[in-house]
Amino acid sequence: MKILIPLKQVPDSTVRVSVAPDGKSIKTEGITWSISPYDEYAIEMALERKEADPSTVVSVVTVGPARARDALRQALAMGCDEASIVIADDAIPPLAVARALAKVIGDAKPDLVLCGKQASDDDQGFIGPALAEVLGWPHVATITKAVPAAGSVELWREVEGGHEVWTAPLPALATVHKSEKEPRYPSLPGIMKAKKKEIPERPFAALGVDASGPILEVLSMEPPPSRGGGKILKDGDLKQVAEKLATLLRDEAKVL
């Protein structure tokens, strides 16, 4: 089975994001970039399949700036087999990104495409469903498990109270919410091997896909409203503190 994961390079989740002086973007100088967390879950899910069946081939692709090569290198070091990049600047409409990925998938012919359910920069969650739409494939959203069978794949979708289990004919696409295990760290031999791998590159314009599509214009960005200056209750008998807190929640905060 051939599994392909489109991934996005985003600011690492430990980065304290701050707004740039233009008020419309974030400061990117000196920040650490990583694979978006849900894409990491998708990679982990694919690598678990590869462990169960070593004939599985796992490839990653990104549509993004040249720096996103580092995220692909990170995926190779985790154990992915192949990586490629479509060089594009950020101004490309999301629908055109989905078309570019569909073109790559048309050439690579994977059996299963796993997309993180959303990238942790814009948090839109558009690309996975849009890619399925452009390909004309069915998809299953927010899965936590994929189990291949003959000519199909069983996809476990986490919902309130449990999992819906869907069977999809191949090729299939799913957006990933979690993997069964935490995403693995790259091993040292993995890092050495990844360094030697070629990462073929194509400019977006060379794909010959329609570059049009609606774009959202950022008007402003600001930090979320700050909180704090709350009341700290620490002194006295715990029973009295508990009663005081319950009373404050009713009379002052008005939430009880």
Binding site: D123, F126, H177, E222, P225, R227, G230, K231, K234
Partner: protein, 293 residues
């Protein structure tokens, strides 16, 4: 502006977010509300039915709740129709011949205002739009999911033991979450008893779901659920950035932790520096007493 609201039902009741959408839509213009009938959500049958409705009614704006299914349906619908899409907005307003929306980005670390060209599809975060008490229930037209479009087979439902009893985490007005300070899954009765006393849902930090103490679906945070309840109670949670990203938009935050320097206290409206094992049973009793009047 013509607005089409896509309502969702849980059991027989309309979801609260659907009422919130209908109330927001009324501010924006002419409203019609549809719900899609079908046994369970599946992208192709739902998108196919909804796209036909949108093509026929030609609304400027389609509003959906940013629920698990709503977000998925909204994205695929926007792609099918070539419409602009903004996900998980906390506010939407008309601005000339386009929309202006507010939405969190970078896992809640930034709040952005964006211009969205029309026609558009927008999903709105549950709990973000204030709902007047006693707001009228909107008139809802039902359309049927397009079964012919289905290419998937539903095989089974695998229930988890803990699920289903309490309110859904994403829409709950009260959420009580437990962290590593609870020391193990055997102590979750403390969290559950307080949640029951408050009539709320149970959540957990990532450390707890990663350790397998609680199911993934209860995780609150950047890679879990984002919640915006009226009251969020964090028990034995230190307050890692990744957890804060999922709960700092709550109206009132209560934190209980024995470490006075825990980061969770920086976002708390009420902080209690105490051992959860000693404090929570007393607090549960106090809540019951206060609620009983």
């Amino acid at each position: 502006m013509k607005v089409l609201v896509v309502a969702e039902r849980k059991g027989t009741e309309l979801r609260r977010v659907s009422l919130e959408l209908a109330s927001k839509a009324k501010e924006l213009g002419d409203v019609s509300v549809v719900e899609i009938g079908g046994e369970r959500y599946s992208p192709l049958p739902f998108v196919s039915a909804l796209a036909k409705k949108v093509e026929a009614a030609a609304p400027d704006l389609v509003l959906l709740g940013a629920t698990q299914s709503g977000r998925d349906l909204a994205a695929r619908l926007a792609a099918r129709l070539g419409r602009a899409y903004a996900a998980d907005v906390t506010d939407v307003a008309a601005s000339g011949d386009s929309l202006e929306v507010t939405r969190p980005m970078y896992a809640g670390k930034v709040r952005a205002r964006l211009r969205v060209p029309l026609p558009a599809v927008v999903s709105v975060r549950p709990g973000a739009i204030p709902l007047r008490e006693g707001a009228a229930t909107p008139e809802v037209t039902k359309i049927e999911a397009d079964a012919v479009a289905e290419k998937l087979t539903f095989t089974k439902f695998a229930a988890v033991a803990s699920g289903g009893k309490r309110v859904s985490l994403a829409e709950a007005r009260v959420v009580v979450s437990g962290g590593r300070g609870l020391k193990g899954p055997e102590n979750w009765n403390l969290v559950e008893q307080l949640a029951d006393a408050l009539g709320g849902a149970v959540g957990a930090s990532r450390a707890v779901t990663d350790a397998g103490w609680r199911p993934n679906e209860e995780q609150v945070g950047q890679t879990g659920k984002t919640v915006t309840p009226d009251l969020y109670v964090a028990l034995g949670i230190s307050g890692a950035i990744q957890h804060l990203a999922g709960m700092t938009s709550s109206k009132v935050i209560v934190a209980v932790n024995k470490d006075p320097d825990a980061d969770i206290f920086k976002v708390a409206d009420y902080g209690v520096v105490a051992d959860v094992f000693e404090f929570v049973p007393a607090f549960t009793e106090a809540v019951k007493k206060v609620r009983a009047g």
